[in-house]
């Protein structure tokens, strides 16, 4: 029964809503531990009896490759759930309300993402993608304030537009192939008729929305800024991973052999996304908006992997996504603790953090260096392999641009480091208090950032699985 992890997640979602309804306030501080147990159970099941199985007559498939992607989602959600208690303690300014519902919806989106990985037909793909996107629109207005509403509306409008485009694209694919199940479609799509390219463009728009690629990324900064920082973390982590999964499903399994001659387009798209993301992030002041643009530029690096079409390229992307999730959530953990307890969201507010709480400052610095791609962190090694893919397919100019971009990114990441280490703390700043669960999360993440890169097992394993997955 390889759908067990998904079912566990859904059951725990209902369990949470039940607990919340029955015990009302009494269950308030049990909800998060239960969720954590749920996710860990799903993780355990996923990792320990992971065999290549086909279920529902081929509609649901789960193999080694899917393990890595599902683990990425689970970890991303776990790290966000761990931080929920940080945002709900009494004395905070913008406390997170109705935690029960929040966790349930979170688990539902998680389930959606996991199904996204294992789906074999366009209908399930579309529905699970919507399940992974629409609830996030709700979550991003959870604070029920002006900014939250505005961010959610923009997210909704562009999200709906994207889902309509995606739908229309799938319609055309259905028209050209007469099939809806992905393994059956690929052989049908033989010659590149204009309608196919129209479908490809429409679908790329849908994926672009989810992965925040250049022309389709406009919603992201406002939605990230409007949403509560917890949701921003989730958006930039898990949601972007979901985007990558959709892209992998479609670009590799739907359009399979077309990917080769799309390399120039992917290169241009990557350049624009990277450059815009990095350059605009240079002048940002709000932390959440800053992280939005950093996430956009990271998306630009990731799609470099699409320039090649062998197993190694996919493994480079998946490995980098896993590393990105760890690094991004390391940064967000510290930012969440900071934003929640001080209520201020500007970069200046980080001033003098290295003197008040050196530990947090150090982890944030390591995270930022990870994002900028500085050795010996996994971020560097991930980026190195991505650039390796681009170099293999002869795009040296793109590698130069990518590395120069990461230098610009180093510049604005160092702006934060400067505030923390060089500036003197403003008077009246108190050291931040951290809950034990968060401490655990931070430890896990830091070990992840360092371990993923230095220990070769992860990359090698992903490489083997990716090659085998392509053959699926």
């Amino acid at each position: 029964m390889s759908m067990l992890p998904e079912i566990i997640i859904i059951l725990f979602a209902f369990l949470i809503i039940a607990l919340d309804l029955i015990f009302l306030d009494k269950a308030k501080n049990y909800l998060v531990p239960v969720t954590v147990v749920g996710i860990l159970a799903a993780c355990a099941v996923l990792i320990f009896n992971n065999s290549d199985t086909l279920m529902l007559g081929g509609r649901f498939v789960s193999g080694a490759m899917h393990l890595w992607l599902k683990v990425t989602f689970l970890i991303a959600t776990l790290l966000v759930v761990i931080l929920v208690p940080e945002s709900t303690s009494e004395n905070l300014k913008n406390r997170l309300s109705s935690v029960g519902e929040f966790l349930t919806i979170l688990l539902f989106t998680l389930a959606g993402m996991m199904y996204l990985v294992s789906c074999q037909d366009l209908v399930t793909l579309y529905v699970s993608l919507e399940l992974a996107t629409i609830p996030l629109m709700v979550l991003s207005s959870w604070n029920r304030d002006d900014q939250g509403g505005e961010g959610a509306i923009k997210y909704l409008v562009i999200g709906a537009l994207a889902s309509a485009f995606l739908l229309y694209g799938f319609g055309l694919i259905y028209a050209l192939s007469g099939e809806l199940s992905i393994p059956a479609i690929m052989p049908q799509l033989t010659e590149g008729s204009p309608a196919l390219y129209l479908a490809a463009a429409l679908i790329t728009a849908g994926i672009g929305f989810k992965l925040t690629l250049f022309p389709f990324h406009m919603w992201a900064p406002d939605a990230y800024q409007g949403a509560p920082i917890l949701v921003t973390a989730y958006l930039s982590g898990a949601s972007k991973a979901a985007g990558l999964v959709v892209a992998l499903q479609i670009f590799y399994r739907l359009f399979g052999h077309f990917i080769v001659d799309w390399a120039p387009f992917v290169a241009v798209l990557a350049t624009l996304t990277m450059t815009l993301g990095n350059v605009v992030a240079v002048l940002q002041e709000n932390l959440k908006r800053f992280m939005a643009f950093s996430a956009i530029s990271q998306a630009g690096y990731i799609i470099l992997g699409f320039l090649g079409n062998t197993g190694a390229d996919i493994s480079a992307m998946i490995f980098y996504m896993l590393v990105y999730v760890f690094t991004n959530l390391a940064v967000f953990t510290v930012l969440i603790v900071h934003v929640q307890q001080t209520g201020k969201e500007t970069i200046q507010s980080l001033r003098g953090m290295s003197r008040l709480n050196p530990g947090l400052a150090l982890i944030l610095m390591i995270g930022l260096f990870g994002l900028a791609g500085i050795p010996p962190l996994a971020g560097f090694i991930g980026k190195f392999f991505l650039f390796n893919v681009a170099a293999k397919s002869g795009y040296y100019w793109l590698v130069v641009l990518a590395v120069l971009n990461s230098t610009v990114s180093l510049y604005y990441y160092l702006r934060l480091v400067r505030q923390m280490y060089i500036e003197v703390p403003a008077e009246g700043d108190k050291p931040l208090k951290i809950k034990p669960l968060t401490m655990l999360g931070l430890g896990f993440v830091t070990v992840g950032m360092l371990g993923l890169g230095l220990i070769p097992y992860f990359y090698e394993q992903i490489g083997r699985d990716a090659a085998q997955w392509l053959a699926f």
Partner: protein
């Protein structure tokens, strides 16, 4: 953990130890003991290597012969290994770095502001440097190279003086741009040789075994050379060096000018020239011209400098120009001279910046016009300054002369692929730098140390303390020893330089 891994990771473990020591007073002692142990281990390795090298003859071989190698697979699918090895050239550099870090720790004896982070970062930086010198897998090389660059930002940003954020940021970004060029070069090498031989590997010698097409070498060589040149203060990319050194604290500018800038020369030689001989032949003349400007530009620039640190920074730009000039000559003596110059200039700049730190510690000003007649008050420092000055202008009896004579004779003798007349003209221009160097060295020292005491309350200043005497003593001893008995170093380096030149033919 083999011998070389210990050499790389002793500073790292010392850094951890420094972080864990409770009282601030003990920190500097822990750092000193750590770097002391490292110095002893380096000495042991050097003697052991010398024992091996002196028996061997290197005339014929075309691949770098490595000793005490450690090889473990890291990312097998991409052909990346944890591959360490040492040959003459890297041993010389390791000795230099070990000396500089030891004296650097001694020179920063009076760092009071957050000493724990300061020493930890300093030691991490040195770990990166040792990693670069000892790793022979280009991925590992590049990784350690970036590890060496990054602590600079914090070290200058937090403990620096003057426009410290600006210069720290400029320095880090320019060095990262440099590493951008190197990275692209690495990829070009990796993929061309991979497609060519089917074997994908980052190992230096496997990459060297492939005959790269001329067209590819034509654009990859300048890219890698400029990438390393940016760190080695190549002419148009040297602007980070004056600001960076002026704002950096003593130990950092010692390490940076003394060791990090040598990374540029070392990398250019070890990777650019070693792997891409045809590219080297094509571009040698161009870079020789650039470095000639570098030498004269640096020395002329130093004449009118008001700030003592800018004065030394420009002088190190000029001397690093000699390093790259030596590399660009592609002549046996020139290249050997380049490595010697790396070593000797490393020690010299280390001494210069240590002394400036000591003077600044006393007079709290680095402006040359404001100081005068200090020799009366600090005779020891004055003598050490004189020795450093004389060594830097290439007075025989110090290592400066040995290195510079090698480079200039090598430049003059030229190589078989470039027009010897052009090289000779450039060498003559470069040799003129010894006069200009003499001018600015004497002008600077004369203004600061000689003449009547300008400021009355300088009279109360004290002369060098014990640690300062030890620092300067060690460095001067090294300068003197290499100057008078250079055969040990020359024989050490010759073994590793010969393969590079054999490949050119």
């Amino acid at each position: 953990m083999g011998l070389l891994s210990w050499l790389i990771f002793i500073p790292f473990f010392t850094a951890l130890a420094v972080i864990l020591t409770p009282q601030p007073k003990q920190i500097k002692w822990v750092a000193l003991i750590g770097s002391g142990i490292h110095l002893l281990l380096t000495a042991y390795t050097a003697i052991k290597l010398w024992g091996v090298i002196s028996q061997e003859t290197f005339t014929a071989d075309v691949f770098a012969k490595l000793y005490f190698t450690e090889q473990y697979d890291w990312f097998k699918s991409l052909g990346i290994q944890y591959m360490l090895g040492v040959d003459g050239m890297s041993m010389a550099m390791v000795i230099l770095t070990s000396i500089i870090i030891f004296t650097g720790v001694l020179a920063s004896w009076h760092v009071t502001e957050r000493p724990k982070e300061f020493f930890a970062l300093l030691l991490v930086l040195v770990t990166g440097v040792f990693g670069v010198f000892l790793s022979f897998d280009l991925f590992l090389f590049f990784m350690f190279y970036e590890v060496a660059v990054l602590p600079m930002y914090l070290l200058i940003g937090v403990w620096g003086t003057g426009p410290k954020e600006y210069s720290a940021m400029k320095l880090t970004l320019m060095l990262m741009v440099g590493s951008a060029f190197i990275l692209v070069g690495l990829f070009a090498l990796y993929h061309t040789s991979g497609q060519g031989t089917g074997v994908y590997s980052f190992n230096l010698n496997t990459l060297a075994s492939f005959e790269y097409p001329k067209s590819m070498q034509a654009w990859v060589f300048p890219m890698i050379f400029i990438g390393f040149g940016i760190l080695g203060a190549l002419y148009p990319f040297h602007t980070w060096s004056p600001d960076g050194h002026a704002s950096a604290p003593t130990a950092v500018s010692m390490l940076h000018a003394g060791v990090l800038m040598k990374l540029g020369g070392y990398g250019a030689l070890r990777i650019a020239v070693y792997l891409l001989p045809d590219g080297a032949k094509e571009w040698a003349l161009f870079f020789m011209g650039l470095t000639t400007i570098n030498i004269l530009y640096g020395s002329f620039g130093a004449i009118k400098q008001k700030d003592l640190k800018y004065f030394t920074a420009y002088s190190s730009v000029s001397h690093c120009g000699i390093v790259l000039f030596g590399v660009a000559t592609l002549n046996f003596m020139g290249v050997k001279g380049a490595v010697l110059q790396m070593f000797s200039h490393g020690v010299m700049t280390g001494l210069f910046f240590a002394l400036i730190g000591m003077v600044y510690g006393r007079t709290h000003t680095r402006m040359i016009p404001e100081m005068g007649g200090l020799a009366k008050v600090m005779p020891w420092l004055a003598v050490c300054f004189y020795v450093a000055g004389m060594a830097s202008l290439g007075l025989p009896g110090f290592s400066g002369f040995i290195a510079e004579s090698h480079v200039f004779i090598g430049g003059f003798f030229g190589n078989a692929w470039n027009s010897s007349v052009a090289m000779q003209v450039m060498t003559v221009l470069a040799t003129m730098s010894i006069v200009v160097t003499a001018v600015y060295v004497l002008r600077g020292l004369g203004k600061v140390f000689l003449g009547p005491i300008t400021d009355s309350h300088y009279l109360s200043l004290t002369d060098a303390g014990f640690t300062e005497k030890l620092t300067t003593g060690i460095l001067i001893a090294v300068l003197f020893l290499v100057g008078v008995f250079p055969q040990f170093l020359i024989k050490l380096i010759e073994g590793s330089v010969l393969p590079i030149l054999n490949r050119l033919r």
